[in-house]
């Protein structure tokens, strides 16, 4: 901790920063509070006894509350279990799951993507950063000590972007240190930012994957507001590769729009020109999907005419989410898969949150039959007893 930033970093605009009283008083929590104080004027800070707006009626956020929640930060201690199975694991009947674990160090996101699943997931009107990182690290250690030799994969980007606030919190440095003790385990930072400078000097065991959710620039312009450009994300990925960090890309969600084929083809070309199969630990592909409950919020926040997401032809699918027509979905997944495979059969490409039928129709086999992918899908025992599972999948 205590790393100074070399590059330029513009902290996201915040209206208020609330600090849970216990965080203002304890050394561990004060460390991250003090980091925020470096970046924001004192007038924004307020120490609170209870969560702000605790009196609101529990339930989904309105569009206005959701917008405002991105600007009102709460630093608090997370009372629950940090380390959990990926929600995909709870839907094994409908999707093919890749054995992923998640470590949530906050919730909400300072970026603003039209399709973001947090719109159906969050019910607290603040962007939250959990200050008790040491307990998260200790939970991780406990789990890893129980199964140090099995290849568990853990990600921090499920309920918050892994790196968009990391130049302030520097949590990446702490986690890299923990994972250096367990080289068979791997950690994934998943981001739409280009903020990597804060951890590039860390000693690591080659098991910290830095991954980017990517889309053609035209989709970024249309649907992923406030995020880094495609070029910036790819430059950041190259920096990580130079420092020996494995890199991954998630072409997820694939979004249909007129002319999508040529834009996704260019994206694959762009990636494969700069990253060989040996540079990329994995490429995941997933098609647009969202919970029916979030469509009202999406319409209200992003309109219908301007967004390829809200205006898309979506249908209820098995498992309850809205998805594209199955044949279109297969066509899109197969197209992108073939674009990679035509350049090299060695790229490890898999489908994220897709049904077994889609795997068969697009890949022509299940992932366990694909040598490159088998390690991701091989069932693993629970590392630390029955782990909690998230209820709301992305």
């Amino acid at each position: 901790m205590g790393k100074k930033l070399n590059g330029t970093f513009t902290p996201p605009t915040l209206d208020r920063i609330f600090i849970e009283k216990s965080c203002a008083e304890e050394t561990e929590a004060r460390e991250v509070v003090d980091r925020f104080r470096v970046f924001y004027p004192a007038t924004l800070f307020e120490v609170v006894e209870r969560e702000p707006w605790f009196e609101r009626v529990p339930g989904p956020l309105s569009a206005g509350e959701f917008e405002r929640s991105k600007k009102n930060l709460l630093i608090k201690k997370y009372p629950g279990q940090f380390f959990k199975r990926c929600p995909g694991a709870s839907q094994k009947n409908t999707i093919t799951c890749c054995n992923y674990y998640v470590l949530n160090l906050g919730q909400q996101c300072n970026f603003n993507c039209s399709y973001c699943y947090l719109q159906s997931y969050l019910n607290a009107p603040t962007l939250q950063v959990y200050a008790n990182i040491n307990r998260a690290a200790s939970e991780l250690r406990q789990a890893a000590l129980a199964q140090p030799d099995l290849p568990y994969r853990v990600g921090t980007g499920e309920t918050i972007d892994s790196l968009s606030l990391d130049p302030i919190t520097l949590y990446s440095r702490k986690l890299i240190e923990v994972f250096s003790e367990f080289p068979r385990w791997s950690l994934e930072f998943k981001t739409k930012s280009d903020l990597v400078d804060q951890f590039l000097d860390c000693e690591h065991a080659g098991n910290v994957v830095v991954s980017w959710s990517i889309n053609p620039q035209i989709v970024i312009d249309h649907e992923e507001f406030g995020t880094a450009s495609l070029a910036a994300r790819l430059r950041a990925a190259e920096k990580c590769r130079q420092r020996g960090f494995p890199v991954a890309f998630h072409m997820d969600p694939l979004i249909w729009f007129p002319g999508w084929e040529s834009h996704y083809q260019d994206l694959v070309k762009n990636i494969t020109r700069r990253f060989g199969p040996e540079d990329l630990s994995v490429i995941s592909i997933g098609s647009l999907r969202f919970q029916p409950s979030q469509r009202h919020l999406m319409r209200e926040r992003f309109g219908m005419k301007e967004s390829w997401v809200t205006s898309a032809e979506m249908f209820p699918s098995e498992g309850g989410k809205f998805r594209y027509d199955a044949s279109l979905r297969r066509e899109m997944l197969r197209f992108v898969l073939q674009e990679f495979k035509s350049r090299s059969g060695k790229y490890k490409v898999f489908f994220c949150m897709e049904t077994p039928e889609t795997w068969l129709a697009s890949y022509e086999k299940f992932p366990m039959k694909e040598e490159n992918l088998r390690p991701f899908f091989r069932p693993l025992p629970s590392p630390e007893g029955p782990l909690g599972q998230n209820e709301d999948p992305p």
Binding site: S62, G303, K305, S311, E313, S317, E318, S327, L328, E331
Partner: protein, 325 residues
């Protein structure tokens, strides 16, 4: 709780009538019912029984015994009627349609009606304490908050916004939504719409013989088409096909066109006589539904033959029918 003894009174010209047009008709021969002077049932009667209750829970209990189930639309209308007695332009829109205009005369009697804001957020008023219409003292007020909670609405802000929007919708649509028991969630898309411009679609919806589920789907499709910039005239049915199909074809042009092509091809084929074949969509999946009815065991051999024949026909199907592969 013991029901208080009512007093039989005659309707005064300035009676406070909360005529929210409930679906059920009040039994003939019975006088109307008022609670603390607020007429809540039998609005067309000359006589009414006025119950004086001491607190909001007794008010709610008595009201709920008259109307054990109310749809969102009816409750929204009730809210509008009560709000018409509200104290200020900020909390009170124009008088609700159908409500007694004596409301205006009684406006001076209106008591506290509070919502609060804190830290820039619209906070939800404390239910059971601060939202009431009609008088400062509990005995004189309509305890709206407690009533809403009784009917399962805890999020007052959402309810209020939606109730006010419902007030702007055509009367037939309100009735339709009441009959179909449409929920606040099913109607939530109205929040995104200029109701006056969209009204013809709501009126059309009320004219259609749709189930609750179909109606909810039609409303959402029509609203999305409107938000996508389709003129109302295009959204309204202009051909002989059912309105819901018309809306689906407009809202999902790519999928509909693919489905229609597949359906046409299926209809053009000479399928085995005993089979029923049709192209179906179930959510995001499409496919051919094949039905063979075996009336006796020996029909099985014929069924297998039919399947072979179906297979031969399917081999000639255009490749695009199953999606681009």
């Amino acid at each position: 709780m013991q029901t208080p003894t009512p007093h039989l009174k005659s309707m005064a010209h300035n009676a406070k009538r909360l005529d929210f047009d409930p679906l059920g008709s009040w039994p003939s021969g019975l006088p109307g019912v008022a609670i603390n002077g607020w007429i809540v049932a039998g609005f067309d009667r000359k006589l009414f029984l006025d119950y004086e209750v001491a607190d909001s829970s007794a008010f709610v209990s008595l009201f709920a015994s008259l109307y054990p189930h109310l749809s969102f639309s009816e409750l929204a209308n009730f809210y509008q009627c009560a709000e018409a007695y509200g104290p200020s332009a900020e909390t009170c829109g124009p008088s609700a349609e159908g409500c007694d205009q004596g409301a205006a005369d009684s406006a001076s009697q209106v008591g506290a009606y509070a919502t609060s804001t804190r830290g820039g957020f619209a906070a939800h008023a404390g239910f059971g304490t601060s939202i009431s219409v009609g008088g400062e003292a509990a005995t004189g007020a309509v305890p709206l908050a407690d009533l809403l909670i009784r009917y399962g609405y805890r999020d007052f802000e959402s309810f209020r916004k939606m109730a006010r929007l419902m007030g702007q919708t055509p009367p037939d649509f309100k009735k339709w939504a009441a009959r179909r028991q449409s929920s606040l969630q099913e109607l939530a898309i109205l929040l995104n719409l200029p109701i006056d411009e969209f009204s013809p679609c709501l009126a059309e919806l009320a004219r259609q013989q749709l189930t609750r589920q179909e109606g909810a789907q039609a409303l959402e499709l029509a609203a999305e088409l409107f938000l996508l910039g389709r003129p109302v005239a295009k959204i309204l049915s202009e051909n002989s096909q059912p309105w819901l199909n018309h809306l689906k074809a407009l809202r999902y042009p790519m999928s509909s066109s693919r489905d229609n092509q597949a359906r046409e091809w299926v209809n053009e084929q000479r399928w085995p006589r005993q089979s029923q074949i049709r192209w179906v969509r179930q959510g995001d999946q499409t496919g051919l539904e094949v039905r063979l009815v075996l009336r006796q065991p020996r029909d099985l051999a014929r069924g297998v033959q039919d399947l072979h024949q179906i297979n031969e026909i399917l081999e000639k199907a255009p490749r695009g029918m199953w999606g681009k592969n």
